[in-house]
């Protein structure tokens, strides 16, 4: 498994480096990466389906309990098959889709990296590792959605997707951490074992589940976070066909499926998954019915289908987990092929707007066949894969034991009606003849249609041969929950109530399509013109304005005020304790020697002079005097290292000051007396008095043994040096020194930048 991931990274790097010479054939190179996944699935698949998961583990950050631990069971295998198989087809499709666009190598590298991240996500066992790959998919998809970076709409869509899924990622991380700390299980497999032993419950686990679901909902575009998915249609169609059908949006569904069995009995789980899922299913279907852009019809359709998957998996019931696995497979296949069809239409006619399309039926019959098969599977028409899966879901709801399962079933059937309606709208929109409209059509090449056509094959074959499908879906569902492996897909159930409900959904859809003009009129009347994306933009704009306002308030740019706040902040709390509790150490003397007194008095005079002088040069010299006085004190106390350092620092800094002074007026600006001056004097007085009090009291109030004895005792045996100061600097507290050195470097670069920037402005 790790080898497959390494292959993805290698191919991505290779594509970025040599891709420029290959043109659009770079995708034939990058197809190798998902092909590797497919080969892996074919080689290891047999054993995994028989019930022996492939496990691989490598240590990564043992301190965090974070391992590169992968565990491919039958469900992960099915996802790997989808990610790899559709990945290969999408790469082939992309090699026909693009012409000579700028930045293709970058795009190909991002697409390969995304494929790798998705592969890792479905194969990962460690929950933190799942999160790492989860974030990688968010980041790489940002580059993919924003591929047309000159287009502001694409940039904004990419940002929106990144912000929403990124925020969800944070919730997911919090949920994972909370869950692992409450249960002690750090991997999905351990969590499942724990749940089978009945060990998961309690308030904290509930919160964890809610947070994890929040993350899943953002990723899988559930209401109210769904706005980014239609926006992401700004991406090139191969991206939509891959990310928004088979893979990234499935990440949330995948995690819901994985965790449904262990966590479904926690109080928030079922209301959230089933409630939000069904709401999304309805809302997506409703919105799909008023879109005129074919791609947006599919995008809202995808939102709806993702809602369905979340609702079905989220129940955690064995039969529904089984049905969900089948639905997941079916959806990945038909939705990828339908997105590819949209890309073909877009390329052949240069439009995706329904009112401008006419006559496509005769121009591209193969595409029509592919679309009808895919659409029929989406709507759930017998005998296609979609029908079998949906039928299983309806039976699952009928047999389900959780509260309000009947209501959920009703909503599910109704929303399936919406699915049928927008499927018909899609097919009608793409291929119907419109009187008075002539569309210029370039016939698509056979190679361009091939990937979509290949996907039509499993839609049919897996439908008419349910025994074959069962070979994959049963172990996959069984990997989620043992009992779920007991079911099978049924092609012809007889006239059962479930079958009648399937027919009812089709009938509702057909009826809605028949009265489509009225439906559109009704939607226009209800007409909420604002989309979720608009709300998102308003929220984003508002928070940016708010941040600007807060910044303006806090970072006002007045240096005296900054200093005042910092100094008062420093003294505020200790001062409160210090007042009335100033102590004088035993045996305190005014001065230890006359020399000390002289130095200190000199230093005080210099400081006082500094405060009143009007000349900058004098101020610098007086400041230097204070510094050199300190050095003199160090000498008197017998600290040569400190004294040496202090003298050198003062020397250098006085000269630096003088260098700067050359550029400044000779005298300080004369400021008329004001309350600001009084405030400054007050601050200075308070801070001075405070430091004096603290120093006295600290000396008088010593409770711990002075550390210098320990340090001195450690210096030679540990650091092999008899200069304690130096050993302390380079060894005992060496890490601090590293930090200080870095701060010094950063500050110097900052000064350099500021000075050069000003010079540049002058020169310019």
């Amino acid at each position: 498994m790790i080898a497959v991931l390494v292959l993805h990274v290698a191919v991505a790097v290779l594509a970025a480096v040599v891709g420029g010479r290959l043109g659009r054939r770079v995708f034939l190179l990058t197809a190798l990466a998902p092909l590797g996944t497919v080969v892996w699935v074919l080689v290891e698949g047999g054993a995994v389906l028989d019930g022996t998961p492939v496990e691989q583990r490598a240590e990564w950050v043992p301190e965090l309990g974070l391992d590169l631990s992968f565990r491919v069971d039958a469900f992960a295998l099915m996802m790997l098959g989808i990610v790899g198989g559709i990945g290969v087809l999408v790469m082939l499709y992309a090699s026909e889709y693009f012409h000579h666009e700028k930045g293709l190598p970058r795009f190909a590298a991002f697409l390969t990296a995304f494929t790798g991240a998705m592969t890792g996500l479905v194969a990962a066992d460690d929950l933190l590792l799942v999160f790492v790959f989860w974030e990688l998919t968010s980041v790489t998809s940002y580059g993919l959605i924003g591929f047309k970076d000159e287009d502001p709409a694409a940039r904004s869509a990419a940002t929106q997707a990144l912000l929403i899924t990124g925020a969800g990622g944070l919730a997911l991380l919090a949920g994972i951490l909370l869950l692992t700390s409450t249960t002690g299980a750090t991997s999905i497999s351990a969590l499942t074992e724990l749940a089978d032993a009945g060990g998961i419950g309690g308030t904290q686990a509930s919160w964890a589940a809610a947070l994890i679901l929040l993350g899943c909902f953002t990723k899988s575009a559930q209401v109210p976070f769904h706005g980014w998915l239609p926006g992401a249609m700004a991406a090139p169609t191969p991206v939509s066909a891959y990310l928004h059908s088979a893979t990234m949006v499935k990440a949330g569904v995948f995690l819901v499926a994985r965790l449904a069995h262990p966590l479904a009995d926690l109080p928030p789980w079922r209301p959230m998954t089933i409630g939000v899922g069904l709401a999304t299913m309805c809302w997506g279907g409703y919105r799909a019915l008023r879109q005129t852009d074919l791609k947006l019809v599919l995008a809202y359709g995808t939102v709806s289908q993702l809602g369905m998957l979340v609702a079905v998996f989220g129940s955690g019931e064995s039969k529904l987990l089984f049905a969900g696995s089948a639905l997941l497979l079916a959806h990945a296949i038909y939705k990828a092929s339908l997105f590819m069809v949209v890309g073909i239409i877009d390329h052949s006619t240069h439009t995706r707007e329904i009112p401008r399309l006419s006559g496509l039926r005769r121009a591209m019959p193969a595409v029509v066949v592919v679309s009808v098969l895919g659409g029929a599977s989406m709507a759930g028409v017998i005998p296609l894969l979609g029908f079998l899966a949906k039928e299983a879901a309806i039976v699952g709801y009928q047999q389900a034991g959780f509260a309000a399962a009947g209501l959920a079933l009703a909503v599910f059937v109704g929303a399936s009606g919406l699915t049928t309606a927008y499927t018909l709208r899609f097919l009608w929109g793409a291929f119907a003849d419109r009187p008075g409209v002539t569309t210029e059509i370039h016939r698509p090449g056979a190679l361009f249609v091939l990937p979509a056509a290949i996907l039509a094959v499993p839609t049919v074959v897996l439908g008419v041969a349910p025994a074959l499908t069962d070979e994959v879906v049963r172990p996959a569902a069984g990997a989620l929950y043992e009992k779920a492996a007991a079911y099978e897909l049924i092609l012809w159930p007889g006239i059962t109530s479930a079958f009648l409900l399937s027919l009812l959904a089709l009938a509702i859809g057909a009826a809605l399509f028949a009265v489509r003009a009225r439906v559109e009129a009704l939607q226009a009347v209800l007409g909420r013109q604002r989309t979720a994306a608009d709300h998102f933009q308003r929220l984003l704009g508002g928070s940016l304005r708010g941040a600007a306002r807060v910044t303006g308030l806090v970072q006002h740019g007045s240096m005296p005020l900054y200093l005042g706040v910092i100094l008062l902040g420093m003294v505020a709390i200790p001062l409160f304790h210090l007042i009335g509790d100033v102590r004088v150490p035993d045996g305190a003397v005014l001065a230890e020697s006359p020399l000390q007194a002289v130095v200190i008095v000199g230093s005080m005079l210099a400081a006082a002079g500094l405060a009143v002088t009007h000349r900058r040069f004098a101020a610098v010299l007086l400041l230097g005097t204070v510094g050199f006085s300190s050095a003199a004190l160090f000498v008197l106390q017998g600290a040569p290292d400190l004294a040496l350092t202090q003298i050198l620092v003062e020397t250098v800094s006085v000269v630096m000051f003088v260098l700067v002074l050359r550029h400044l007026p000779d005298r300080f600006r004369v400021v008329p007396w004001s309350t600001a001056n009084a405030a400054r004097i007050a601050v200075a007085g308070i801070v001075g008095a405070f430091m004096f009090g603290v120093t006295l009291t600290a000396l008088a109030d010593r409770t711990a043994t002075p550390v210098d004895e320990d340090v001195a005792a450690l210096a030679y045996p540990q650091g092999d040096g008899s200069n304690v100061v130096n050993v302390t600097l380079v060894d005992i507290r060496g890490f601090d020194t590293v930090g200080e050195a870095i701060v010094l470097v950063v500050a110097a670069l900052g000064v350099l930048g500021i000075v050069r920037a000003n010079r540049g402005a002058t020169d310019g």
Binding site: H663, V725, V738, L744, A748, V755
Partner: protein, 175 residues
């Protein structure tokens, strides 16, 4: 800045950085400059057992540079076109590098080692891995001071709103 505008530095009209040249100062500084450098090296190597060390040695070298600066015989740009940014960078790499190397070798961060070698003339010489670390500190300090002298000592006006620099331009050519 030497590279700025692509002009060769010698073409720039130069005048003493700080006021008029003073002969006595110039000669004294010329005399002590190299002594200070040697003394700084002594401080650097003695540092582990006696007063000194990388930081102090760096400051001493910095003070030497400052002296040269004061004489107006600005060595920083003309005679030694030292790329102080590079010195700074090498120092930073050395500091972090020596901190991280023990980590790679499986010890804890910043763990130091001591080796004792018998050399023919010098006798037993003790070397510790704290030395490259300290050398890194030295380079960082020298780099910072040199760089600041370079940018602050340059005669280009720092701020367009402030009067031109004090001290009349003598138009003297240096270098």
């Amino acid at each position: 800045m030497a590279e700025r505008d692509g002009r060769p530095q010698e073409q720039t009209p130069r005048r003493p950085t700080l006021g008029e040249p003073a002969v006595v100062l110039d000669i004294v500084v010329e005399a002590v400059f190299h002594t200070i450098l040697v003394f700084a090296l002594y401080l650097h190597f003695a540092g582990h057992n006696q007063p000194g060390g990388g930081f102090i040695a760096g400051l001493a070298i910095g003070a030497a540079l400052v002296l040269r600066m004061i004489t107006g015989n600005d060595p920083i740009r003309t005679r030694f076109p030292v790329p102080y940014e590079a010195v700074l960078g090498v120092g930073a790499v050395l500091v972090t590098g020596t901190a991280l190397v023990p980590l790679v070798l499986g010890n804890s961060l910043l763990e130091h080692h001591t080796w004792e070698v018998d050399l023919p003339v010098l006798g037993a010489v003790k070397a510790t891995s704290a030395l490259p670390f300290d050398t890194g500190i030295l380079l960082v300090v020298v780099g910072v001071i040199g760089m600041l002298l370079q940018v602050l000592g340059s005669d280009d006006p720092i701020d367009p709103e402030v009067d031109p620099p004090v001290g009349a331009s003598s138009g003297e050519q240096v270098g």
